[in-house]
Protein backbone atom coordinates (compact mmCIF):
# COMPACT_ATOMS: atom_id res chain seq x y z
CA UNK A 1 0.00 0.00 0.00
CA UNK A 2 1.32 3.40 -0.91
CA UNK A 3 1.84 5.57 2.09
CA UNK A 4 2.83 9.18 2.05
CA UNK A 5 5.42 9.55 4.71
CA UNK A 6 5.07 12.90 6.31
CA UNK A 7 8.25 14.44 7.43
CA UNK A 8 7.13 15.86 10.70
CA UNK A 9 9.38 17.93 12.90
CA UNK A 10 9.24 17.69 16.66
CA UNK A 11 7.41 20.70 17.98
CA UNK A 12 5.95 21.62 21.33
CA UNK A 13 2.41 21.88 19.95
CA UNK A 14 2.61 18.38 18.52
CA UNK A 15 3.18 16.89 21.94
CA UNK A 16 0.16 18.70 23.28
CA UNK A 17 -2.01 17.32 20.51
CA UNK A 18 -1.56 13.78 21.80
CA UNK A 19 -3.53 14.60 24.93
CA UNK A 20 -7.26 14.63 24.41
CA UNK A 21 -7.87 18.35 24.67
CA UNK A 22 -11.61 18.46 24.53
CA UNK A 23 -13.65 21.57 23.97
CA UNK A 24 -14.78 21.54 27.58
CA UNK A 25 -11.21 21.76 28.73
CA UNK A 26 -10.60 24.77 26.51
CA UNK A 27 -13.73 26.49 27.77
CA UNK A 28 -12.76 25.93 31.38
CA UNK A 29 -9.31 27.32 30.73
CA UNK A 30 -10.76 30.51 29.33
CA UNK A 31 -13.36 30.78 32.06
CA UNK A 32 -10.74 30.54 34.77
CA UNK A 33 -9.24 33.82 33.68
CA UNK A 34 -12.45 35.76 34.20
CA UNK A 35 -12.43 36.59 37.89
CA UNK A 36 -15.94 37.95 38.03
CA UNK A 37 -17.30 34.83 36.41
CA UNK A 38 -15.47 32.65 38.90
CA UNK A 39 -16.83 34.78 41.73
CA UNK A 40 -20.33 34.24 40.36
CA UNK A 41 -19.66 30.55 40.06
CA UNK A 42 -18.45 30.28 43.64
CA UNK A 43 -21.53 32.06 44.94
CA UNK A 44 -23.70 29.64 42.98
CA UNK A 45 -21.83 26.67 44.36
CA UNK A 46 -22.30 28.10 47.84
CA UNK A 47 -26.00 28.51 47.19
CA UNK A 48 -26.26 24.96 45.98
CA UNK A 49 -24.49 23.79 49.06
CA UNK A 50 -26.82 25.73 51.28
CA UNK A 51 -29.86 24.41 49.47
CA UNK A 52 -28.75 20.81 49.70
CA UNK A 53 -27.68 20.94 53.30
CA UNK A 54 -30.39 23.31 54.49
CA UNK A 55 -31.57 20.84 57.12
CA UNK A 56 -28.14 20.79 58.67
CA UNK A 57 -27.24 24.46 58.29
CA UNK A 58 -30.45 26.16 59.29
CA UNK A 59 -30.54 26.89 63.01
CA UNK A 60 -34.34 26.61 63.21
CA UNK A 61 -37.12 24.90 61.29
CA UNK A 62 -38.63 27.36 58.85
CA UNK A 63 -42.22 27.01 59.97
CA UNK A 64 -41.62 27.09 63.70
CA UNK A 65 -43.60 29.95 65.11
CA UNK A 66 -42.63 31.51 68.39
CA UNK A 67 -44.85 34.27 69.65
CA UNK A 68 -42.38 35.21 72.35
CA UNK A 69 -39.82 36.30 69.82
CA UNK A 70 -41.90 38.17 67.30
CA UNK A 71 -40.42 40.93 65.15
CA UNK A 72 -36.96 40.86 66.62
CA UNK A 73 -34.18 42.74 64.88
CA UNK A 74 -30.98 40.77 64.15
CA UNK A 75 -29.44 39.52 67.33
CA UNK A 76 -27.20 36.74 68.52
CA UNK A 77 -30.01 34.23 68.76
CA UNK A 78 -31.55 35.12 65.41
CA UNK A 79 -28.83 36.42 63.12
CA UNK A 80 -31.27 37.91 60.64
CA UNK A 81 -34.02 38.62 63.08
CA UNK A 82 -37.53 37.16 63.22
CA UNK A 83 -40.70 37.85 61.31
CA UNK A 84 -44.23 38.59 62.45
CA UNK A 85 -44.78 34.99 63.49
CA UNK A 86 -41.51 34.70 65.38
CA UNK A 87 -39.99 32.52 62.69
CA UNK A 88 -36.23 32.81 62.25
CA UNK A 89 -35.61 34.75 59.06
CA UNK A 90 -32.15 33.29 58.43
CA UNK A 91 -33.52 29.77 58.47
CA UNK A 92 -36.30 30.79 56.14
CA UNK A 93 -33.78 32.35 53.79
CA UNK A 94 -31.73 29.15 53.88
CA UNK A 95 -34.70 26.91 53.16
CA UNK A 96 -35.89 29.44 50.66
CA UNK A 97 -32.80 28.83 48.59
CA UNK A 98 -34.10 25.36 47.91
CA UNK A 99 -37.37 26.66 46.58
CA UNK A 100 -35.86 29.41 44.49
CA UNK A 101 -33.21 27.20 42.98
CA UNK A 102 -35.75 24.47 42.34
CA UNK A 103 -38.09 26.79 40.56
CA UNK A 104 -35.31 28.51 38.74
CA UNK A 105 -33.66 25.39 37.39
CA UNK A 106 -36.61 23.10 36.91
CA UNK A 107 -38.81 25.62 35.20
CA UNK A 108 -35.90 26.64 33.07
CA UNK A 109 -35.11 23.08 32.09
CA UNK A 110 -38.69 22.48 31.06
CA UNK A 111 -38.85 25.73 29.15
CA UNK A 112 -35.47 25.07 27.54
CA UNK A 113 -36.38 21.56 26.45
CA UNK A 114 -39.61 22.59 24.83
CA UNK A 115 -38.02 25.69 23.31
CA UNK A 116 -35.04 23.74 21.95
CA UNK A 117 -37.15 21.09 20.33
CA UNK A 118 -39.44 23.62 18.69
CA UNK A 119 -36.56 25.89 17.67
CA UNK A 120 -34.43 23.15 16.16
CA UNK A 121 -37.33 21.77 14.16
CA UNK A 122 -38.24 25.23 12.91
CA UNK A 123 -34.63 26.07 12.06
CA UNK A 124 -33.81 22.80 10.40
CA UNK A 125 -36.82 22.33 8.22
CA UNK A 126 -37.66 25.91 7.43
CA UNK A 127 -40.59 26.72 5.18
CA UNK A 128 -44.11 26.23 6.43
CA UNK A 129 -43.09 24.36 9.58
CA UNK A 130 -40.78 27.20 10.52
CA UNK A 131 -43.49 29.77 9.90
CA UNK A 132 -46.16 28.02 11.94
CA UNK A 133 -43.94 27.35 14.91
CA UNK A 134 -42.46 30.80 14.99
CA UNK A 135 -45.81 32.52 14.73
CA UNK A 136 -46.94 30.60 17.80
CA UNK A 137 -43.77 31.72 19.51
CA UNK A 138 -44.47 35.29 18.47
CA UNK A 139 -47.90 35.14 20.07
CA UNK A 140 -46.48 33.74 23.26
CA UNK A 141 -43.68 36.26 23.22
CA UNK A 142 -45.98 39.21 22.73
CA UNK A 143 -47.66 38.68 26.10
CA UNK A 144 -45.62 40.30 28.86
CA UNK A 145 -44.06 37.50 30.78
CA UNK A 146 -45.31 38.53 34.17
CA UNK A 147 -48.89 38.78 32.97
CA UNK A 148 -48.60 35.44 31.24
CA UNK A 149 -47.24 33.87 34.41
CA UNK A 150 -49.98 35.42 36.49
CA UNK A 151 -52.65 34.20 34.13
CA UNK A 152 -51.31 30.64 34.14
CA UNK A 153 -50.66 30.52 37.88
CA UNK A 154 -54.08 31.92 38.67
CA UNK A 155 -55.86 29.45 36.45
CA UNK A 156 -53.85 26.46 37.62
CA UNK A 157 -54.36 27.26 41.26
CA UNK A 158 -51.94 27.45 44.12
CA UNK A 159 -48.79 25.46 44.63
CA UNK A 160 -45.28 25.03 43.46
CA UNK A 161 -46.22 23.03 40.35
CA UNK A 162 -48.35 25.77 38.92
CA UNK A 163 -45.61 28.30 39.66
CA UNK A 164 -43.17 26.07 37.81
CA UNK A 165 -45.36 25.83 34.75
CA UNK A 166 -46.20 29.50 34.80
CA UNK A 167 -42.56 30.49 34.81
CA UNK A 168 -41.52 27.83 32.31
CA UNK A 169 -43.97 28.77 29.59
CA UNK A 170 -42.69 32.32 29.35
CA UNK A 171 -39.15 31.16 28.71
CA UNK A 172 -40.03 28.99 25.72
CA UNK A 173 -40.06 31.67 22.99
CA UNK A 174 -36.61 32.93 23.87
CA UNK A 175 -35.11 29.48 23.64
CA UNK A 176 -36.97 28.70 20.47
CA UNK A 177 -35.66 31.89 18.86
CA UNK A 178 -32.07 31.38 19.91
CA UNK A 179 -32.02 27.71 18.97
CA UNK A 180 -33.69 28.38 15.64
CA UNK A 181 -31.12 30.99 14.69
CA UNK A 182 -28.22 28.82 15.78
CA UNK A 183 -29.66 25.81 13.93
CA UNK A 184 -29.98 27.79 10.74
CA UNK A 185 -26.37 28.88 10.94
CA UNK A 186 -25.07 25.39 11.54
CA UNK A 187 -27.45 23.78 9.06
CA UNK A 188 -25.73 25.52 6.16
CA UNK A 189 -22.24 24.48 7.16
CA UNK A 190 -20.39 22.06 4.95
CA UNK A 191 -20.08 19.37 7.59
CA UNK A 192 -23.85 18.98 7.75
CA UNK A 193 -23.90 18.46 4.01
CA UNK A 194 -21.02 16.04 4.44
CA UNK A 195 -23.10 14.10 6.94
CA UNK A 196 -25.89 13.84 4.39
CA UNK A 197 -23.41 12.72 1.80
CA UNK A 198 -22.32 9.78 3.91
CA UNK A 199 -25.94 8.81 4.45
CA UNK A 200 -26.85 10.22 7.86
CA UNK A 201 -30.58 10.38 8.60
CA UNK A 202 -32.25 13.65 9.54
CA UNK A 203 -32.54 12.70 13.19
CA UNK A 204 -28.92 11.72 13.32
CA UNK A 205 -27.93 15.01 11.77
CA UNK A 206 -29.95 17.01 14.29
CA UNK A 207 -28.76 15.06 17.30
CA UNK A 208 -25.14 14.40 16.43
CA UNK A 209 -24.22 17.32 14.25
CA UNK A 210 -26.42 20.26 14.96
CA UNK A 211 -27.19 20.06 18.67
CA UNK A 212 -23.61 19.71 19.94
CA UNK A 213 -22.67 22.76 17.91
CA UNK A 214 -25.41 24.98 19.22
CA UNK A 215 -24.87 24.16 22.88
CA UNK A 216 -23.06 27.42 23.48
CA UNK A 217 -25.97 29.83 22.95
CA UNK A 218 -28.31 27.41 24.73
CA UNK A 219 -26.11 27.28 27.79
CA UNK A 220 -25.76 31.03 27.90
CA UNK A 221 -29.48 31.58 27.45
CA UNK A 222 -30.14 29.04 30.19
CA UNK A 223 -27.74 30.53 32.68
CA UNK A 224 -29.09 34.00 32.22
CA UNK A 225 -32.63 32.65 32.16
CA UNK A 226 -32.42 31.08 35.60
CA UNK A 227 -32.05 34.49 37.12
CA UNK A 228 -35.14 35.74 35.36
CA UNK A 229 -37.08 32.67 36.40
CA UNK A 230 -36.22 33.15 40.02
CA UNK A 231 -37.29 36.76 39.85
CA UNK A 232 -40.50 35.79 38.13
CA UNK A 233 -41.30 33.17 40.77
CA UNK A 234 -40.60 35.74 43.42
CA UNK A 235 -42.99 38.13 41.70
CA UNK A 236 -45.67 35.49 41.57
CA UNK A 237 -45.44 34.67 45.24
CA UNK A 238 -45.19 38.38 45.98
CA UNK A 239 -48.63 38.64 44.45
CA UNK A 240 -49.90 35.68 46.39
CA UNK A 241 -49.94 33.26 43.50
CA UNK A 242 -47.97 30.06 43.18
CA UNK A 243 -46.11 29.32 46.36
CA UNK A 244 -48.27 29.48 49.41
CA UNK A 245 -47.29 30.15 53.05
CA UNK A 246 -45.70 28.80 55.12
CA UNK A 247 -43.30 27.71 52.35
CA UNK A 248 -40.40 30.17 52.63
CA UNK A 249 -39.99 31.62 49.18
CA UNK A 250 -37.91 34.78 48.99
CA UNK A 251 -40.45 36.72 46.99
CA UNK A 252 -43.22 35.79 49.35
CA UNK A 253 -41.05 36.89 52.24
CA UNK A 254 -40.56 40.24 50.56
CA UNK A 255 -44.24 40.61 50.05
CA UNK A 256 -45.31 39.84 53.57
CA UNK A 257 -42.68 42.16 55.03
CA UNK A 258 -44.08 45.17 53.24
CA UNK A 259 -46.42 45.97 56.08
CA UNK A 260 -43.61 45.93 58.59
CA UNK A 261 -41.06 47.64 56.39
CA UNK A 262 -41.02 50.99 58.13
CA UNK A 263 -40.21 49.79 61.59
CA UNK A 264 -38.47 46.57 60.72
CA UNK A 265 -36.43 47.17 57.60
CA UNK A 266 -34.30 44.07 58.19
CA UNK A 267 -37.25 41.95 57.16
CA UNK A 268 -37.01 43.31 53.64
CA UNK A 269 -33.26 43.44 53.45
CA UNK A 270 -32.58 39.75 54.04
CA UNK A 271 -34.73 38.28 51.25
CA UNK A 272 -33.89 41.22 49.00
CA UNK A 273 -30.18 40.58 49.28
CA UNK A 274 -30.71 36.87 48.78
CA UNK A 275 -32.54 37.46 45.51
CA UNK A 276 -30.09 40.08 44.35
CA UNK A 277 -27.01 37.97 45.07
CA UNK A 278 -28.41 34.94 43.33
CA UNK A 279 -29.39 36.78 40.20
CA UNK A 280 -26.11 38.71 40.16
CA UNK A 281 -24.08 35.53 40.52
CA UNK A 282 -26.04 33.93 37.69
CA UNK A 283 -25.53 36.91 35.43
CA UNK A 284 -21.79 37.13 36.10
CA UNK A 285 -21.34 33.44 35.55
CA UNK A 286 -23.57 33.47 32.48
CA UNK A 287 -21.65 36.37 30.92
CA UNK A 288 -18.34 34.70 31.65
CA UNK A 289 -19.56 31.44 30.21
CA UNK A 290 -20.72 33.15 27.06
CA UNK A 291 -17.33 34.77 26.57
CA UNK A 292 -15.51 31.52 27.27
CA UNK A 293 -17.68 29.57 24.85
CA UNK A 294 -17.00 32.00 22.04
CA UNK A 295 -15.51 29.81 19.36
CA UNK A 296 -12.10 31.43 19.24
CA UNK A 297 -10.64 28.76 17.09
CA UNK A 298 -6.90 28.76 16.97
CA UNK A 299 -5.55 29.53 13.50
Amino acid sequence: MTVIQEFVQVRKTEEVVTKKRSQAHEVWRRLKKNRLAIAGMLILILLLFIAVFADVIAPYPYAKQNYDEVLQPPNLKHLAGTDEFGRDILSRIIYGSRISLQIGFISLTVGALVGCILGSIAGFFGGVIDNVIMRFMDILHSIPRVILAIAIAASLGAGITSALIAVAVGSIPNFARVVRAATMTVRDQDFVEAARAIGASTSRIIVKHILPNILAPIIVQATLGVGTSILLAASLSFLGLGIQPPVPEWGAMLSSSRTYMRDNPYMVIAPGIAIMLTVLALNLFGDGLRDALDPKLKK
Partner: protein, 334 residues
Amino acid sequence: MTNDNLVTYEKNKNQPLLEVTNLKKYFRTPRGMLHAVDDVSFEVNQGETLGVVGESGCGKTTLGRVIIRLLDATAGNIYYRGENITNSTDKRTHELRRDMQIIFQDPYSSLNPRMTVGESISEPLIIHKVFSKKVDIDKRIEELMDTVGLASRFVNSYPHELDGGRRQRIGIARTLALEPDFIVCDEPVSALDVSIQAQILNLMQDLQDEKNFTYIFITHNLAVVKHISDQILVMYLGVVVEKSTSDNLFKNPLHPYTRALLSAIPEPTLKKTRNRQLLRGEISSPIEPKPGCRFAVRCEYAKERCFIENPVYEEMLPGHYVACHQTKEIQQIR
Protein backbone atom coordinates in the same frame (compact mmCIF):
# COMPACT_ATOMS: atom_id res chain seq x y z
CA MET B 1 -19.33 -2.53 -4.15
CA THR B 2 -22.17 -4.85 -3.25
CA ASN B 3 -22.48 -8.19 -4.98
CA ASP B 4 -25.35 -7.05 -7.17
CA ASN B 5 -23.38 -4.17 -8.53
CA LEU B 6 -20.39 -6.36 -9.23
CA VAL B 7 -22.51 -8.66 -11.32
CA THR B 8 -24.09 -5.82 -13.27
CA TYR B 9 -20.72 -4.24 -13.80
CA GLU B 10 -19.16 -7.38 -15.16
CA LYS B 11 -21.97 -7.63 -17.66
CA ASN B 12 -21.52 -4.07 -18.92
CA LYS B 13 -17.84 -3.47 -18.69
CA ASN B 14 -17.81 -1.32 -21.76
CA GLN B 15 -20.38 1.15 -20.62
CA PRO B 16 -19.29 4.33 -18.93
CA LEU B 17 -19.44 4.35 -15.14
CA LEU B 18 -21.41 7.56 -15.12
CA GLU B 19 -23.56 8.99 -17.86
CA VAL B 20 -25.41 12.27 -17.64
CA THR B 21 -27.93 13.31 -20.28
CA ASN B 22 -29.60 16.71 -20.63
CA LEU B 23 -29.26 17.40 -16.95
CA LYS B 24 -30.97 20.52 -15.68
CA LYS B 25 -31.11 22.07 -12.23
CA TYR B 26 -33.15 25.21 -11.73
CA PHE B 27 -33.78 27.10 -8.52
CA ARG B 28 -36.81 29.21 -7.89
CA THR B 29 -35.90 32.70 -6.72
CA PRO B 30 -38.04 35.77 -6.09
CA ARG B 31 -36.68 37.26 -9.31
CA GLY B 32 -37.38 34.22 -11.45
CA MET B 33 -35.95 30.80 -12.32
CA LEU B 34 -32.23 30.49 -11.77
CA HIS B 35 -30.73 28.18 -14.40
CA ALA B 36 -27.82 26.77 -12.42
CA VAL B 37 -27.25 23.77 -14.64
CA ASP B 38 -28.80 23.90 -18.08
CA ASP B 39 -28.86 20.86 -20.35
CA VAL B 40 -25.53 19.24 -19.53
CA SER B 41 -24.52 15.90 -21.02
CA PHE B 42 -21.33 13.88 -20.67
CA GLU B 43 -19.98 10.49 -19.67
CA VAL B 44 -17.11 9.30 -17.54
CA ASN B 45 -15.39 5.92 -17.77
CA GLN B 46 -14.15 3.92 -14.83
CA GLY B 47 -10.74 4.98 -13.62
CA GLU B 48 -10.87 8.32 -15.43
CA THR B 49 -10.79 11.84 -14.11
CA LEU B 50 -13.17 14.36 -15.59
CA GLY B 51 -12.21 17.90 -14.76
CA VAL B 52 -14.93 20.54 -14.62
CA VAL B 53 -13.71 24.12 -14.86
CA GLY B 54 -15.40 27.46 -14.85
CA GLU B 55 -15.58 30.61 -12.87
CA SER B 56 -18.04 31.51 -10.14
CA GLY B 57 -21.63 31.13 -11.19
CA CYS B 58 -20.95 28.60 -13.91
CA GLY B 59 -22.83 25.85 -12.13
CA LYS B 60 -20.01 23.38 -11.57
CA THR B 61 -20.60 23.07 -7.84
CA THR B 62 -24.33 22.52 -8.36
CA LEU B 63 -23.57 19.93 -11.02
CA GLY B 64 -21.43 17.97 -8.57
CA ARG B 65 -24.12 18.04 -5.93
CA VAL B 66 -26.84 16.89 -8.31
CA ILE B 67 -24.77 13.98 -9.60
CA ILE B 68 -24.34 12.50 -6.17
CA ARG B 69 -27.95 13.16 -5.28
CA LEU B 70 -27.44 15.79 -2.62
CA LEU B 71 -29.77 17.86 -4.77
CA ASP B 72 -32.62 16.63 -6.94
CA ALA B 73 -32.35 17.22 -10.67
CA THR B 74 -35.02 19.38 -12.28
CA ALA B 75 -34.87 17.45 -15.53
CA GLY B 76 -32.60 15.07 -17.40
CA ASN B 77 -31.05 11.74 -16.46
CA ILE B 78 -28.15 10.40 -14.46
CA TYR B 79 -27.03 6.83 -15.10
CA TYR B 80 -24.66 5.09 -12.73
CA ARG B 81 -23.43 1.75 -14.04
CA GLY B 82 -26.36 1.77 -16.42
CA GLU B 83 -28.92 2.31 -13.68
CA ASN B 84 -31.05 5.42 -13.86
CA ILE B 85 -30.57 7.05 -10.48
CA THR B 86 -32.06 10.45 -11.27
CA ASN B 87 -35.08 9.90 -9.08
CA SER B 88 -33.81 7.09 -6.91
CA THR B 89 -35.77 6.31 -3.79
CA ASP B 90 -34.40 7.35 -0.42
CA LYS B 91 -33.52 3.75 0.26
CA ARG B 92 -31.66 3.35 -3.01
CA THR B 93 -29.91 6.69 -2.56
CA HIS B 94 -28.77 5.53 0.85
CA GLU B 95 -27.30 2.38 -0.70
CA LEU B 96 -25.65 4.41 -3.44
CA ARG B 97 -23.77 6.39 -0.84
CA ARG B 98 -21.47 3.44 -0.52
CA ASP B 99 -20.44 3.87 -4.14
CA MET B 100 -20.65 7.62 -4.75
CA GLN B 101 -18.97 10.08 -2.43
CA ILE B 102 -17.82 13.67 -2.28
CA ILE B 103 -14.78 15.57 -1.00
CA PHE B 104 -15.52 19.13 0.04
CA GLN B 105 -13.59 22.29 -0.59
CA ASP B 106 -13.21 23.95 2.76
CA PRO B 107 -11.30 21.86 5.26
CA TYR B 108 -12.33 24.29 7.95
CA SER B 109 -16.07 23.91 7.64
CA SER B 110 -16.46 20.38 6.30
CA LEU B 111 -15.63 18.71 9.61
CA ASN B 112 -17.88 18.75 12.67
CA PRO B 113 -15.86 20.75 15.24
CA ARG B 114 -17.30 18.65 18.06
CA MET B 115 -16.18 15.31 16.69
CA THR B 116 -12.69 13.89 16.97
CA VAL B 117 -10.76 12.78 13.92
CA GLY B 118 -11.60 9.14 14.67
CA GLU B 119 -15.28 9.89 15.12
CA SER B 120 -15.52 11.81 11.86
CA ILE B 121 -13.77 9.11 9.88
CA SER B 122 -15.78 6.27 11.35
CA GLU B 123 -19.18 7.89 11.08
CA PRO B 124 -19.93 6.46 7.60
CA LEU B 125 -19.06 3.02 8.91
CA ILE B 126 -21.41 3.39 11.82
CA ILE B 127 -24.28 4.75 9.73
CA HIS B 128 -24.06 1.89 7.24
CA LYS B 129 -23.42 -0.69 9.94
CA VAL B 130 -20.37 -2.01 8.19
CA PHE B 131 -18.80 -3.58 11.26
CA SER B 132 -20.41 -4.97 14.36
CA LYS B 133 -17.39 -4.92 16.64
CA LYS B 134 -15.71 -1.77 17.84
CA VAL B 135 -12.31 -3.34 17.43
CA ASP B 136 -12.97 -3.75 13.70
CA ILE B 137 -14.00 -0.12 13.41
CA ASP B 138 -10.87 1.04 15.18
CA LYS B 139 -8.72 -1.06 12.93
CA ARG B 140 -10.35 0.42 9.86
CA ILE B 141 -9.87 3.95 11.19
CA GLU B 142 -6.19 3.25 11.63
CA GLU B 143 -5.93 1.83 8.11
CA LEU B 144 -7.66 4.85 6.62
CA MET B 145 -5.51 7.33 8.49
CA ASP B 146 -2.44 5.50 7.30
CA THR B 147 -3.69 5.56 3.73
CA VAL B 148 -4.10 9.32 3.71
CA GLY B 149 -0.88 9.97 5.59
CA LEU B 150 -2.29 11.05 8.93
CA ALA B 151 -0.27 10.03 11.97
CA SER B 152 -2.31 7.71 14.17
CA ARG B 153 -1.71 9.81 17.25
CA PHE B 154 -4.22 12.35 15.91
CA VAL B 155 -7.14 9.97 16.25
CA ASN B 156 -8.43 11.75 19.36
CA SER B 157 -7.66 15.26 18.18
CA TYR B 158 -10.24 17.85 17.24
CA PRO B 159 -10.21 19.59 13.86
CA HIS B 160 -9.38 22.98 15.29
CA GLU B 161 -6.08 21.61 16.56
CA LEU B 162 -4.89 20.69 13.10
CA ASP B 163 -3.91 22.68 10.03
CA GLY B 164 -5.74 22.83 6.70
CA GLY B 165 -3.71 20.12 5.00
CA ARG B 166 -4.31 17.62 7.77
CA ARG B 167 -7.98 18.50 7.94
CA GLN B 168 -8.36 17.85 4.25
CA ARG B 169 -6.76 14.46 4.76
CA ILE B 170 -9.38 13.72 7.41
CA GLY B 171 -12.07 14.65 4.90
CA ILE B 172 -10.52 12.34 2.33
CA ALA B 173 -10.25 9.51 4.85
CA ARG B 174 -13.91 9.93 5.67
CA THR B 175 -14.78 9.81 1.99
CA LEU B 176 -12.80 6.62 1.54
CA ALA B 177 -14.31 4.85 4.54
CA LEU B 178 -17.08 3.17 2.55
CA GLU B 179 -14.76 2.26 -0.33
CA PRO B 180 -16.62 4.20 -3.00
CA ASP B 181 -15.82 3.85 -6.70
CA PHE B 182 -16.86 7.30 -7.76
CA ILE B 183 -15.82 10.51 -6.04
CA VAL B 184 -16.86 14.08 -6.77
CA CYS B 185 -14.02 16.35 -5.69
CA ASP B 186 -15.32 19.86 -5.16
CA GLU B 187 -12.30 22.16 -5.23
CA PRO B 188 -10.44 19.89 -2.79
CA VAL B 189 -7.19 21.81 -2.84
CA SER B 190 -8.27 25.40 -3.45
CA ALA B 191 -8.19 26.36 0.19
CA LEU B 192 -4.70 24.96 0.76
CA ASP B 193 -1.24 26.42 0.46
CA VAL B 194 0.69 25.58 -2.65
CA SER B 195 3.07 23.11 -1.02
CA ILE B 196 0.23 21.30 0.72
CA GLN B 197 -1.80 21.32 -2.48
CA ALA B 198 0.90 19.35 -4.16
CA GLN B 199 0.93 16.78 -1.36
CA ILE B 200 -2.82 16.28 -1.52
CA LEU B 201 -2.89 16.09 -5.33
CA ASN B 202 -0.22 13.42 -5.28
CA LEU B 203 -2.19 11.53 -2.66
CA MET B 204 -5.33 11.63 -4.77
CA GLN B 205 -3.47 10.42 -7.83
CA ASP B 206 -1.82 7.60 -5.89
CA LEU B 207 -5.17 6.50 -4.56
CA GLN B 208 -6.65 6.56 -8.03
CA ASP B 209 -3.83 4.44 -9.41
CA GLU B 210 -4.19 1.95 -6.61
CA LYS B 211 -7.94 1.66 -6.28
CA ASN B 212 -9.07 2.63 -9.78
CA PHE B 213 -11.20 5.51 -8.55
CA THR B 214 -13.23 7.61 -10.93
CA TYR B 215 -13.08 11.33 -10.15
CA ILE B 216 -15.06 14.32 -11.17
CA PHE B 217 -12.67 17.09 -10.28
CA ILE B 218 -14.30 20.50 -9.93
CA THR B 219 -11.99 23.49 -9.82
CA HIS B 220 -11.37 26.98 -11.12
CA ASN B 221 -7.61 26.41 -11.20
CA LEU B 222 -6.62 25.54 -14.75
CA ALA B 223 -3.10 24.38 -13.98
CA VAL B 224 -4.40 21.91 -11.41
CA VAL B 225 -7.13 20.61 -13.69
CA LYS B 226 -4.70 20.09 -16.52
CA HIS B 227 -2.41 18.13 -14.27
CA ILE B 228 -4.99 15.77 -12.87
CA SER B 229 -7.66 15.33 -15.57
CA ASP B 230 -8.04 13.02 -18.52
CA GLN B 231 -11.00 14.90 -19.95
CA ILE B 232 -12.08 18.45 -19.20
CA LEU B 233 -15.49 20.12 -19.31
CA VAL B 234 -15.57 23.92 -19.51
CA MET B 235 -18.71 25.48 -18.11
CA TYR B 236 -20.15 28.96 -18.43
CA LEU B 237 -23.44 30.05 -16.86
CA GLY B 238 -24.75 26.53 -16.48
CA VAL B 239 -23.87 25.36 -19.97
CA VAL B 240 -20.99 23.20 -21.18
CA VAL B 241 -19.18 25.28 -23.78
CA GLU B 242 -16.37 22.88 -24.55
CA LYS B 243 -15.22 19.35 -23.79
CA SER B 244 -12.03 17.61 -24.79
CA THR B 245 -9.07 15.69 -23.52
CA SER B 246 -6.84 17.59 -21.16
CA ASP B 247 -3.95 17.95 -23.58
CA ASN B 248 -6.15 18.85 -26.48
CA LEU B 249 -8.07 21.52 -24.66
CA PHE B 250 -4.93 23.41 -23.85
CA LYS B 251 -3.28 22.89 -27.21
CA ASN B 252 -6.31 23.74 -29.28
CA PRO B 253 -9.06 25.55 -27.40
CA LEU B 254 -11.98 26.18 -29.73
CA HIS B 255 -14.53 28.12 -27.73
CA PRO B 256 -13.85 31.86 -27.31
CA TYR B 257 -14.50 31.61 -23.59
CA THR B 258 -12.02 28.79 -23.17
CA ARG B 259 -9.45 30.78 -25.08
CA ALA B 260 -10.00 33.84 -22.94
CA LEU B 261 -9.82 31.73 -19.81
CA LEU B 262 -6.57 30.12 -20.84
CA SER B 263 -5.02 33.41 -21.77
CA ALA B 264 -6.03 34.93 -18.45
CA ILE B 265 -4.04 32.48 -16.34
CA PRO B 266 -1.01 34.12 -14.80
CA GLU B 267 1.86 31.74 -15.45
CA PRO B 268 4.85 31.51 -13.17
CA THR B 269 7.29 31.74 -16.05
CA LEU B 270 8.98 34.63 -17.75
CA LYS B 271 7.18 35.40 -20.97
CA LYS B 272 8.37 38.39 -22.83
CA THR B 273 5.07 38.90 -24.59
CA ARG B 274 1.71 38.00 -23.22
CA ASN B 275 -1.15 37.51 -25.60
CA ARG B 276 -3.91 38.44 -23.24
CA GLN B 277 -7.44 38.18 -24.41
CA LEU B 278 -9.29 40.48 -22.12
CA LEU B 279 -12.98 39.83 -21.87
CA ARG B 280 -15.34 42.73 -21.94
CA GLY B 281 -17.77 43.24 -19.15
CA GLU B 282 -18.97 40.88 -16.50
CA ILE B 283 -20.81 37.60 -16.33
CA SER B 284 -24.54 37.97 -16.99
CA SER B 285 -27.27 36.74 -14.70
CA PRO B 286 -28.26 33.07 -14.61
CA ILE B 287 -31.83 34.09 -13.76
CA GLU B 288 -34.22 33.75 -16.69
CA PRO B 289 -31.42 33.85 -19.29
CA LYS B 290 -32.39 35.15 -22.70
CA PRO B 291 -32.25 32.84 -25.70
CA GLY B 292 -29.04 32.75 -27.66
CA CYS B 293 -25.49 32.09 -26.59
CA ARG B 294 -24.93 33.16 -23.00
CA PHE B 295 -21.42 34.24 -23.73
CA ALA B 296 -22.32 36.41 -26.74
CA VAL B 297 -22.39 39.67 -24.76
CA ARG B 298 -18.71 39.36 -23.92
CA CYS B 299 -17.52 37.62 -27.06
CA GLU B 300 -15.37 39.42 -29.61
CA TYR B 301 -16.49 37.08 -32.37
CA ALA B 302 -20.21 37.36 -31.73
CA LYS B 303 -22.50 37.86 -34.70
CA GLU B 304 -26.21 38.51 -34.87
CA ARG B 305 -27.06 34.83 -34.89
CA CYS B 306 -25.32 34.36 -31.58
CA PHE B 307 -27.78 36.59 -29.81
CA ILE B 308 -30.85 34.81 -31.13
CA GLU B 309 -30.11 31.12 -31.48
CA ASN B 310 -28.74 28.78 -28.83
CA PRO B 311 -25.52 27.21 -30.08
CA VAL B 312 -25.59 23.43 -30.49
CA TYR B 313 -23.19 21.34 -28.44
CA GLU B 314 -21.59 19.09 -31.02
CA GLU B 315 -18.45 17.19 -31.86
CA MET B 316 -16.28 19.49 -33.92
CA LEU B 317 -13.22 17.30 -34.01
CA PRO B 318 -12.84 13.69 -32.82
CA GLY B 319 -13.53 13.69 -29.11
CA HIS B 320 -13.68 17.49 -29.02
CA TYR B 321 -17.08 19.06 -28.37
CA VAL B 322 -17.95 22.77 -28.60
CA ALA B 323 -21.11 24.84 -28.30
CA CYS B 324 -20.47 27.82 -30.55
CA HIS B 325 -21.85 29.16 -33.80
CA GLN B 326 -18.60 30.69 -34.93
CA THR B 327 -16.15 27.86 -34.41
CA LYS B 328 -15.35 27.35 -38.06
CA GLU B 329 -14.98 31.06 -38.67
CA ILE B 330 -12.72 31.51 -35.69
CA GLN B 331 -10.55 28.62 -36.81
CA GLN B 332 -10.09 30.23 -40.16
CA ILE B 333 -9.14 33.55 -38.63
CA ARG B 334 -6.45 31.96 -36.53
